[in-house]
């Protein structure tokens, strides 16, 4: 303990408020009036970058971890060092960050290499007193049952990193309400009002799933060619029986970003349904299935401008672990 305290104090002295180096901060009795315990955008992004570097180094021990840190990967509680930690070989150039200094949460979405193969990662960290208390990873791999196309993710849309002008910002609760309206409209195809910008676009696991210039993807279904609002209005989403366990994890007011973790359950009981244009769609999937989704919304002036998501096939009814 003495050694640890000394280390902590010297680290604090040397590195000041650099993220993660105030080792003493975790001990309740170690409050140091000279240390800032706030973690702003730069600080939070620094934690995300440290975590990515630790993945590549296969070494979680280099991170400033809280004693009770919890790690999940695709909804499963793993020990730190397991799963992704064992096989990440590099971090790619595709990087989106969202920061919530008020809640102490940060999100990274991007492309990593696992044993040389590209995968898409959504990473969420919770940081308390400059220590990581929660790590949640959702990884989409190119594997059976997955439509992920990490190779499509070359350059993130710059809109995600743009600051929203103060007059065009919305409050945290309003941002959450806007993001929530998207899921409510999709659930059972209710097609209720969602404030989409007319140029709204969506990417899911590297695939452009709105306004796609090549919408049929080998089928007669052209729904991917429609915009965000028109797509919902068709009534295409009636087979989405339940959008469950919605968690609004990161709210970045300055950049207008909301990260949502959720599950799309399809109980497969609806075998056919009528679209709003009168056509009937036959459900081809026969078995219940669930998508685990991490979904990022860009909101400006009260409108959804962009949606970027990671989608994974998981056992029907699976929980997030949180």
């Amino acid at each position: 303990m003495r050694r640890r305290l000394l280390l902590g104090i010297s680290a604090t002295l040397i590195l000041g408020t650099i993220a993660g180096r105030s080792v003493a901060a975790q001990e309740a009795s170690d409050y140091d009036p000279n240390v800032s315990y706030d973690c702003d955008r730069t600080c939070l992004n620094g934690f995300a970058d440290q975590a990515l570097a630790a993945f590549v180094a296969h070494d979680p021990s280099r991170l400033p971890l809280a004693k009770e840190v919890k790690y999940t990967e695709n909804g499963q509680v793993l020990r730190l060092g397991d799963g992704l930690w064992g096989i990440v070989t590099a971090v790619g150039n595709y990087k989106i960050y969202a920061d919530d200094p008020q809640a102490g949460q940060v999100m990274f979405m991007g492309v990593l290499q696992e044993n040389g193969a590209p995968v898409i990662l959504n990473l969420r960290l919770k940081v308390e007193l400059k220590r990581i208390t929660e790590i949640e990873a959702v990884v989409a791999r190119k594997e059976a049952g997955s439509f992920a196309r990490p190779e499509n993710l070359v350059q993130p849309n710059p809109i995600f990193a743009e600051t929203v002008a103060p007059a065009e910002r919305r409050s945290r609760q309003n941002m959450i309400a806007i993001a929530n309206s998207y899921f409510s409209a999709i659930e059972k195809g209710h097609a209720s009002y969602v404030p989409f910008d007319k140029d709204c676009n969506r990417i899911e696991s590297g695939v452009q799933t709105t306004n796609n210039p090549n919408p049929n993807q080998g089928t007669s279904n052209t729904v991917l060619g429609l915009g965000c609002a028109d797509q919902i209005k068709t009534g295409q989403f009636q087979a989405d029986s339940l959008i469950r366990d919605r968690r609004f994890l990161v709210v970045d007011e300055e950049r207008g970003l909301v990260l949502v973790g959720t599950f799309f359950d399809h109980d497969a009981t609806l075998r056919s349904y009528k679209l709003t244009d009168g056509r009937t769609v036959q459900q081809t999937r026969t078995a219940p299935w669930t998508w685990q989704i991490a979904e990022l919304f860009k909101i400006k002036d009260g409108k959804i401008m962009r949606i970027e998501a990671i989608v994974n096939a998981v056992p029907y009814g699976m929980k997030s672990g949180w």
Binding site: E73, N74, G75, Q76, V77, L78, D82, G83, L84, G86, I87, E114, N115, A117, V119, R141, E143, A144, G145, S146, D267, A268, T269, R271, R285, T286, A287, P288, W289, N312, A313, V314, P315, Y316, G317, M318, K319
Partner: protein, 324 residues
């Protein structure tokens, strides 16, 4: 070479068994256990399965004699009865395999259940207490969707599973569990030396013959023991107790049903087989994922004669929902 490993990997995933799930108290006090299970013999237990399946295709769980705290899992997820396959099952296939453990009050079933007319290979476990169903654990290897695995058309009746083992060739419950467990230990230790395989042992996984397949290629042609002898399995880690469970032991028929997870961390990139051959571990075993498996062993005269498994890929290290 990749093909060889892929087949072996699938086989391994499909293979499974274990040791410590036997509740020592039940083993020690069969009379008390029988009383707890309401003296439900083989016919009674199979009746529970048949009633369950009839209720399932009628979408009517309320017709069943359910314990107050009945719990249902489907592919490791706790669901309310009525959800999941209960909403879509609308018929049964011809393939039906029962295994009964009157002493433990448990019964297992492997067969084909139709979901919206689509045949799916399913393994089912029911626990019966005082005439009521208290636990329901379904593993369904769905085909035609994400994580597709099943080949229901590959399932044909194998009389050996329903044949009674002559009393002289039976083994005790604990020995049977130990033998099944040695299968998993053989995989973990990458050796054929510790598992008592019959030379004709054959393995079926999701309707595919993955060991001793006369028409198979590569490793699928080898018998169970010869496959283990190659030392192919270092990229598989069979989870230990309490995840390694042996919930149904049918002494009369020599059957042990294990439920288990095979974890593939993706960190073993190269394997040196027993004969010195170096194998590079191919996809999908270079990424972390897990097989959830229901695996049935036929044991006669202390040898593993047949292995039949239902398995599906699930998120890495996903629990079954039942380990205590």
């Amino acid at each position: 070479m990749h093909r060889k490993l892929l087949i072996v990997g699938a086989a391994a995933a499909l293979l499974i068994l274990g040791r410590f799930a036997l509740r020592p108290t039940e083993a020690a006090t069969p009379n008390a256990s029988a009383a707890a299970s309401g003296d439900c013999d083989r016919a009674c237990l199979n009746g529970f399965v048949d009633n369950y399946l009839a209720a399932l295709v009628a979408h009517g769980p309320s017709k069943l004699p359910l314990a107050k705290n009945v719990r249902y899992t489907e592919n490791g997820q706790t669901l309310k009865l009525g959800d999941g396959m209960w909403g879509v099952a609308n018929g049964l296939g011809d393939y039906k395999l029962y295994f009964d453990d009157p002493q433990g009050g448990q019964v297992g079933f492997m067969g084909v259940i139709k979901e919206n007319d689509h045949p799916q290979i399913t393994a089912l476990r029911l626990k019966i207490e005082k005439g009521k169903i208290s636990e329901i654990e379904a593993i369904i290897a769905r085909s035609g969707g994400p994580n597709s695995q099943g080949k229901p058309e590959g399932l044909v009746d194998k009389p050996i599973f329903s044949e009674a083992v002559p009393p002289a060739e039976r083994r005790s419950r604990s020995e049977m569990i130990s033998i099944a467990n040695s299968y998993f230990e053989g995989l973990n230790q990458a050796t054929g030396k510790i598992t008592p395989f019959d030379p004709n042992c054959q393995r079926i996984e999701n309707g595919n013959i993955t060991a001793n397949n006369p028409n198979g290629r590569g490793i699928a042609k080898l018998s169970c023991g010869a496959q283990f002898d190659t030392g192919f399995s270092p990229f598989i880690k069979v989870r230990a107790a309490p995840d390694r469970r042996f919930p149904v032991v049918d002494e009369e028929r020599g059957l042990v049903y294990a439920i288990i997870e095979f974890d593939h961390a993706g960190t073993v990139r190269e394997i040196k087989e027993t004969d010195g051959t170096i194998l590079h571990v191919p996809p999908p075993f270079d990424t972390p994922y897990t097989f959830l498996i229901g695996e049935l062993f036929k044991i006669q005269n202390g040898k593993i004669m047949r292995v039949e498994a239902v398995l599906l890929p699930v998120p890495f290290r996903m629990p079954s929902g039942w380990a205590k």
